[in-house]
Symmetry: C2
Subunit: 355 residues, 2 copies
Amino acid sequence: MESKYISRCFELAKKGIGNVSPNPLVGCVIVKEGKVIGEGWHEKYGQPHAEVNAIRNSTEPIVDSTLYSNLEPCSHTNKKTPPCVPEIIKQKVAKVVISNIDPNPNVNGKGVGQLREAGIEVVTGIEEDKGNELNRFYFKYAKKRLPYITLKIAQTLDGKIAEFEGKQSWITGEESGKFVHSLRGIFDAVLIGANTVVVDDPLLTVRNTNGRNSLRIILDGNGSIPDTAKILNLEDNDKTLIVTSEAVPNYYTEAVKKKGVELLMLPMNGSNKIDLEELLREAGRRNISSILVEGGSNIFSQFVEEKLFDELIVLQSPKLFGKGLNSVELSEQVNMELINTEHLGSDLKMVFRKK
Amino acid sequence: MESKYISRCFELAKKGIGNVSPNPLVGCVIVKEGKVIGEGWHEKYGQPHAEVNAIRNSTEPIVDSTLYSNLEPCSHTNKKTPPCVPEIIKQKVAKVVISNIDPNPNVNGKGVGQLREAGIEVVTGIEEDKGNELNRFYFKYAKKRLPYITLKIAQTLDGKIAEFEGKQSWITGEESGKFVHSLRGIFDAVLIGANTVVVDDPLLTVRNTNGRNSLRIILDGNGSIPDTAKILNLEDNDKTLIVTSEAVPNYYTEAVKKKGVELLMLPMNGSNKIDLEELLREAGRRNISSILVEGGSNIFSQFVEEKLFDELIVLQSPKLFGKGLNSVELSEQVNMELINTEHLGSDLKMVFRKK
């Protein structure tokens, strides 16, 4: 029974995907005498939490009810909305059932503690793994103030991402393309390297599907993208961020700024590449809790080599190129765990996690 | 109903896997008044066919019954066992339901024709695709007198089969290894190149699973395997075949023959490689209806480049090497179709067919 209502919390929580970051995805169900009397979810960042929405939506008084929530109710006050715990106590809820403890240091067990002190029975850890999975972006961000990094590679069966370097190659099919657009919508930011802009000239917008445009981050340490690039000429240019270095000439920075695109200057590492760790820390400071890295080979290789990714999604077409540009070039091998697979048209989607 | 009994025929037919080649896998079910009264399958090459076994196993007279078989009953006499069609007619079966017409030019509709002439109702094409799948080795062999070729590649996610050329590398895990042994048991022959013998020194026997040893074919056009190779020193050395060319020195051929291993001399092509088309024709002449090609890179590349494969099974470990030996090197890309996937421990098995 507890699993059933917590699973319903997950379903409700997912309705917030794309709108609540860097907050967690939370759903809440209030049950009284075996009947659901209220449901709610965190709908939008800055707006009421799931618990408050469920309480408001309840069809009868929630005194003596059981409140299910996939995340520990919040107890801290240094934020946009009032904390949920005092409200739950005030409403005389009898029992609270949750999936995950909130790893945010401001909560992290304090919410559960306050509920118990008020005499409310609290059960934790129901469907914990599924909760961890649902809020994996948030959990990394809450613990480390760093965004969750997913690499998305479209490649052939033999690991090639282009027929040769500098050639735009369509590797995967229509269904995979549609999937990528829906994927972009759930990340706070998408990131590509300058080479990909020069070769593919992509828009990186969310198309053919519902979902908001994410922040577009371009790594261009050497200032090589032309000011005619589509990504510098979009209606919402304020959602493009060029990450570059002091090495670039003035005319480059002037040209980019004139487009209304923000420039972020970061240090380069010994290999003349943007310092990724510094970039991710800066992203965390900007409340970016998730980044989808879309290539190309140099960027993938840097993220994998420096072990700065959490997840790898491979869209693999049933082709052998037998030559061409490798998806990654590494100095040492990296082991991962295969989480799941799905057929997308004639392609195969595989999700891996860093071990 | 017809699907149900034909599916049972498939199940029965599979009991013959590994024992009936180059004959087809056939199962037979005899049904009278809604009751199964007899079942049988082709158990061993040279022994009775499925229909005859089912008739013999019947618990009551089969007059007026319906006979289900996944393959058209045979009508030809130039073979080891008497034809099934006259027996079915003699027993006064009322109706015959089959999945596939036998593509063997000696049958190929003649069996169905004779049954109909004798006044027996015949239904064909039930679960035809599943029948084609089950007997894919036989169907190619019966039509072309060429073996069905499956390439089996164990590779990393980025398409590498070794950390560097000449290095033996364990790519996949225990479950994949077990699968390979069971796979060998269903092929008439397994084939590898001389490089693989030199680097890996494999046995190519069927271990840790039930199944007979297949013929072991080694391509060694330049006579480079040492006479200490395990594959030349097995108990059943008569199940090893070394394919080489006139280019090899006498001491090589003498050494191999002394081991009791057969040598087959074939012409080399312009690239100083064994002529694969000639090899496959010779295999067909030897009644080899299926070959599992296990590598290495040169051999895979030659089979793919010359489009001489039917199926590719990839065992993919969740690793990125980021450098190393490519599974294939091709002059032009090859498209395939992904048929199915299965998790084997931490690896992923993917089955592709040539388009």
